[in-house]
Symmetry: C2
Subunit: 148 residues, 2 copies
DNA sequence: CTTACTGCAAAAGCTTTGCATCCGT
DNA sequence: ACGGATGCAAAGCTTTTGCAGTAAG
């Protein structure tokens, strides 16, 4: 796993500023997040961490995610029919592609999103503070598998 | 409530085609959906229907929603931290504005969305079949209340 | 030392499912 | 009459919470 230490340090620093403490478990969760560009679920994170931290509780993962949310250091993609997915590498809103077959979540190249968001912010009458842009379909691998 | 009878008839017809039956309860749920542009939750629908159908079960509402989903006649906006919301008036994907204070969900004017979606579909490598565009913030009313 | 964090288990909350009965078609 | 729909209650699942013990700062 390739951990982005700059990002890891930023998360640690931000948590500390907000009065959170950094336990060994928490540090390991942050490290895992900093090295996971695949938008893992809480359960997936927990599974990966168990190898290095056999006693880690799933509740601890959720509590650390809650702390990161409170600091604005993680982006939560909510789903009601499957696990939520998390992106702590790019915690500000950006588009995602979600594969309906394998569940992969990826960051697509974002073509002139700025202008699109800006125009909507201007025309909606809302004071927009964040957004969510999800595109559902088949990822390249699953397309190939199906010959589409 | 202003029911769009054209839309209501279309839903009934589509359900029938797919082998579903139209009970009095179901017809009333469809009528309520056709007259609800506010993207109600299942529970909100149920609450409104109880006035006219005191014995209506929440499970029946969910089962009718499931039938509509299967027919592509309803758009489900999933949330993991609150009730899902439903739009049976415009069942194809379109942008939404969601108020973080009062929970209102509205359809904003959609400025050159076509081009944005098209460019992403082209650049992502995915075979995109649907999308979800949510904008979170304060609705005009809640802005006013707060003086923002 | 003070107060947050951990891990476990229980609770919460929305949605789905099983089942006996009822009713469209 | 057949097969789907209803209503009730129970089950399912993910996420949150309570608590006693532990440890970070």
């Amino acid at each position: 796993m390739t951990v982005d230490n700059t990002r890891l340090d930023a998360m640690v620093e931000r948590l500390r500023c907000q009065g959170h403490r950094i336990s060994p478990q928490r540090l390991e969760i942050l490290r895992e997040l900093a090295g996971s560009p695949d938008h893992p679920s809480a359960e997936a994170l927990h599974r990966r961490l168990l190898a290095r931290f056999p006693a880690m509780s799933l509740a601890t993962v959720y509590k650390t995610i809650a702390a990161l949310k409170q600091c604005g250091e993680i982006l939560e993609l909510q789903f009601s029919d499957r696990d939520n997915r998390y992106d702590a590498i790019r915690p500000t809103p950006h588009p995602h592609c979600i594969c309906l077959e394998c569940g992969a979540v990826t960051d697509p190249p974002a073509p002139d999103m700025e202008r699109f968001v800006a125009s909507l912010v201007a025309s909606s009458g809302y004071a927009i503070s964040s957004h969510r842009l999800d595109f559902f379909g088949l990822c390249p691998r699953c397309r190939k598998k199906r010959g589409i």
